[in-house]
Symmetry: C2
């Protein structure tokens, strides 16, 4: 019988001793070994299980120390009857349980209205192409380093330190690490009483709304914007004003004169990923000064400023004291461990601390100390470097794929970082339909409806995130998605057969292409210029930040223009039919589908007849 | 220079490799090694530090993997210039920092009124006799077991599981463990959708008050009672009713007809440690049914039911659905890790989950999984057994010491468990003065003022807790405290010289003591009977639950009654002067101070002349 209960698996990492101990404990707790019953001697048990006697002796010693068994001299080893000491003596416990009727609704003081979650299936990991933001890729998690930091924090000396802090405040070691290693990244300086630790940024927002918001307060939020903040502010009774977002971030206009508080996500606007420009930042701070506004700056992700040095946080630019700053250590690390923080003046921090104590005491102190070690051992800096590298790579891969497979079809806006692209598709695209059809092909994209509170959401928009998809899947996923988009909008697309303009044959192509300069727009909003040299070589360069150049070859064959770049368009050979419509050149692929439109500079009008 | 920066300490547990890695990282982060600068070759560094070259090679390999250094072929090893990639480029960061003026008070929507904390000094661990409740003794912390559980939860496979749960709910593994291993101790059954994990019991209370309380709601709380709950309920706008507490727990009377919600701590009432009797429990549930009340049952400590099997929780006794149950895994474990939970019907849990999501998303998932392992590996059961043993021992030691050193002077009430004694001292005692004077002697006791909201607190009461003081310190601490109490109330105490009644000499003692039965009251409210047998032996027994007996010897010498118990009063020889006042016998010690009063059964009236 014992052999059946204690099945030993030598293929496991777990030691024999640990396996035997755990099975015995399980047996005692579920009642396979009755309380007070006698267990076999160590010699016998060792024989039955086919293990060294010493192994069983050590297991029995552990169980005795833990209180599970009792050794009686000259009698044997028994299951401790007191293992259930302190339990209620309730014979009815083994009756089948009938859950209680849910009949307390009439006592609820209002029901919370919350925006639906992103329609991301729980089993998203089974999809081949999860272009979703926030759901994280465990391969990015710094498992080894986190384990090490965690172990450093869980020795007796450390436990003795952090356990004493309860109710008094935050771990001073973590505050110091955040003060010196995290917020300087964003240009922010603070003294230790200007920082509060929170359970993630959501608690930070909740505490701030408890302190500053009631039904006399008007708060401006971004539109489109972060739905969880809208829900929270509305729950606190706030009147909301919706501020439009443009390519420079949240707009600053006279509507702000009517509000008391502005909530904004300047680093990478949620959900558009737009970075607020320096000019706009100063306009906002000036407005706050003129109108005596408080600004809540939510800087939830700063590991993803790719194209240039990031702009300093609003809090660091503010010469007064009008910015309450919220952030976390990183989206990847925060997921699960849930350490966020607030930077504000000491008066605000001290009042928030009282609210935090009343609503939950401290954020777990074991995690505070573990994160402090993660920072102090330099793991955080190395991790941020790594994340930046990985995310940047994915971000560029996605951009390149979008540009290759969906030129002249979508628009991502001129963004410089962030972990998701906001994509505007062809005007006829039904985003919700696309999302459903894409999911059937294993491609997950994010709908955008939830980000709009007041205005109707654009039906042809969707989001694609990079935190959860490995780099090597991106191109293939976009290629498949592009096929689907073309399929869904086919009836509205130009085809070679019905396109306006004139199809060029070999001769016409030979007349106009050598020496021509072609101009077009990348999907991410920067211009691209291509020079087709008479000798069959070509060169291209894109404008904007982080501009790129490439070279390649071109030729004319079978009524088509052919080209091959070294790097661009994956270095593939590709041929296009060319139609000229005025000075607009249109390319169609071998299936006669429209691909891209370009300006042909200096197109000789005579050819156009 | 390197040797100065990288000081190796061979006496540490930390490996050489780890020491060198950490010092180099620190040097890079604080700028001792400039970004882009060249580091010595592994051969040179090994020579300088006097370590094996391979050690340095491995360190350099780690740093290269982490991104701190870059190896350039045929050139050497350099500090990675990109280590500050993503940092704001801000030259002003190195200016001396001036904290922001705290001038946002005018924006606060009310200031939170909170009851002051227990007057426990932050450096309480330096006091010899910390009789305080809740501040914990690190020696009780299951360090090894917690580390093991924590490690199990922090491997890639587990991280991948718990990280995906964010926003969706709690760790199903933890819910299942609580369902099957924790709440059955209290007689409670629940399905998995009837349990919610919280950041400690304080968050549980906050979420519940958010759902059920506003300014139209009247809540009955205990008086004296838990101040943090009063603060929270008042913050939520509740009207409070104060329910008196007696030896059976919170009183149930017609005042409850005027309330909507009752908050109670039946297991061990905060702060008196009184257990609510079964009769009272049923009265309360009947009242709740008759008046349609909701009961919030705060079962914050259940590891300390010492004298009998604990009563089932109210939730388990309730045939309807009127009890929302709150608890945590244990005060000791909760401090720091902060895992609490709520049991209620699924409709309530689902609404609380929405509130929790809005106010902080999930309690940290790494801790949820680690606690789940702590439970599933049987560490929790062993730990609770151990805690029960240790606390019970301390609890008995403190009771015995109080009974020995402060008989007929204090009263602890008839309590059966809990981790603190509520002590009523002599009527003239000034508890606050006692606390201050005791602290000067290294003795910490708790004042009780903060527990009273409406009524004036009794000046002569204080609390003594056992969670933070080792067993071997208890007797000595109480002995010193008793001396202090006698000193402070001396002028009101009877002295041998001014006592009413008649001092017995040897002859009178010999006439009345042999065969006499003495009756007195223990400080914890149970009777004690002592039989002085004519042969000089004696026997004693106490009533109440867990009654005790002892035997000893007695004799008469130098006008005093002497006795020595085997176990009681620490088996010490002690002599008393005896005064008879009617049938009341009064003992005075060698300093003529009053010690104890007893009934002498069958005292021959003829002697009293």
């Amino acid at each position: 019988m014992l052999k059946r209960l204690i099945h030993i698996d030598t293929s496991l990492d777990e030691s024999l001793q640990s396996q035997i101990r755990n099975k015995l404990v399980e047996g005692i707790l579920v009642g396979s070994f009755a309380l007070g019953s006698r267990l076999p001697s160590s010699r016998k048990l060792a024989e039955q299980l086919g293990v060294a006697r010493n192994t069983v002796v050590l297991v029995y010693q552990t169980l005795q120390d833990e209180g599970y068994i009792i050794s009686k001299e000259r009698s044997g080893i028994y299951v401790n009857e007191k293992i259930h000491q302190g339990w209620v003596n309730d014979n009815e416990l083994h009756m089948a349980y009938q859950p209680k009727a849910s009949d307390n609704q009439h006592r609820f003081k209002g029901t919370l209205q919350v925006t639906n979650d992103t329609a991301c299936p729980a089993d998203w990991q089974k999809y081949s192409y999860p272009f979703i933001d926030g759901k994280f890729d465990v391969s990015l998690y710094p498992v080894k380093e986190w384990r090490d930091a965690n172990q450093q924090a869980n020795v007796t000396r450390e436990i003795n330190q952090w356990s004493q802090l309860q109710g008094l405040g935050d771990d001073p070691m973590l505050i110091e690490q955040i003060r010196t290693k995290v917020i300087p990244r964003r240009g922010i300086q603070a003294s230790s009483d200007e920082i509060l630790i929170t359970v993630g940024t959501q608690q930070a927002l909740h505490l701030i709304s408890q302190l500053f918001v009631d039904d006399t307060v008007t708060v401006a939020v971004e539109e489109p914007g972060y739905p969880e903040v809208r829900d929270l502010l509305q729950y606190s009774g706030a009147n909301l004003l919706y501020q439009p977002v443009d390519d420079n971030g949240m707009q600053v206009n006279e509507q702000l004169d009517r509000c008391d508080i502005v909530y904004t996500t300047p680093s990478h606007q949620t959900p558009t990923s737009v970075t607020m420009s320096m000019t706009r930042r100063h306009e906002l701070l000036d407005k706050a000064k003129a109108q005596d506004l408080l600004i809540i700056e939510d800087d939830f992700e700063f590991e993803s400023n790719f194209l240039r040095q990031p702009h300093p946080a609003l809090r660091s630019l503010d010469s007064g004291n009008r910015v309450v700053y919220i952030s976390c250590l990183s989206k990847v690390l925060a997921s699960g461990i849930q350490i966020g923080f607030i930077v504000a003046d000491s008066g605000v921090i001290s009042e928030l601390k009282k609210l935090r104590k009343m609503t939950m005491r401290n954020p777990p102190l074991n995690n505070q100390r573990a994160v402090a070690y993660f920072l102090s051992l330099g793991y955080y800096d190395a991790f941020m470097l790594h994340l930046h590298k990985v995310f940047f790579e994915r971000w560029l891969t996605l951009r390149e794929a979008l540009n290759t497979y969906l030129p002249n079809c979508i628009d991502t806006g001129p963004i410089q970082g962030g972990t998701a692209y906001w994509i505007t598709g062809p005007p006829q695209l039904d985003g919700e339909n696309l999302r459903e059809k894409a999911a059937e092909l294993g491609i997950l994209i994010e709908p955008v409806k939830r980000y709009f509170a007041q205005s109707k959401h654009p039906e042809n928009c969707f989001r694609m995130g990079i935190t959860s998809i490995p780099n090597h899947r991106i191109r293939d996923g976009v290629s498949k998605l592009a096929d689907l988009i073309h399929q869904l909008t086919e009836e509205h697309e130009e085809k070679l057969g019905n396109a306006s303009g004139k199809l060029l044959n070999d001769e016409a192509l030979r007349k106009c292409l050598p020496g021509a300069r072609l101009e077009c727009q990348m999907v991410y909003g920067v211009p691209c210029t291509i020079d087709l040299l008479p000798d069959g070589s070509m060169s291209g360069h894109t404008g904007g930040i982080g501009s790129e150049i490439d070279t390649g070859h071109w030729w004319i064959e079978n009524g088509m223009y052919w080209r091959q770049w070294k790097l661009w368009s994956y270095g593939e050979v590709k041929g296009f039919y060319v139609i000229m419509d005025g000075d607009q050149m249109k390319w169609f692929d071998q299936n006669y589908s429209f691909v891209r439109q370009l300006d042909l500079k200096g197109y000789p009008a005579t050819l156009d007849q």
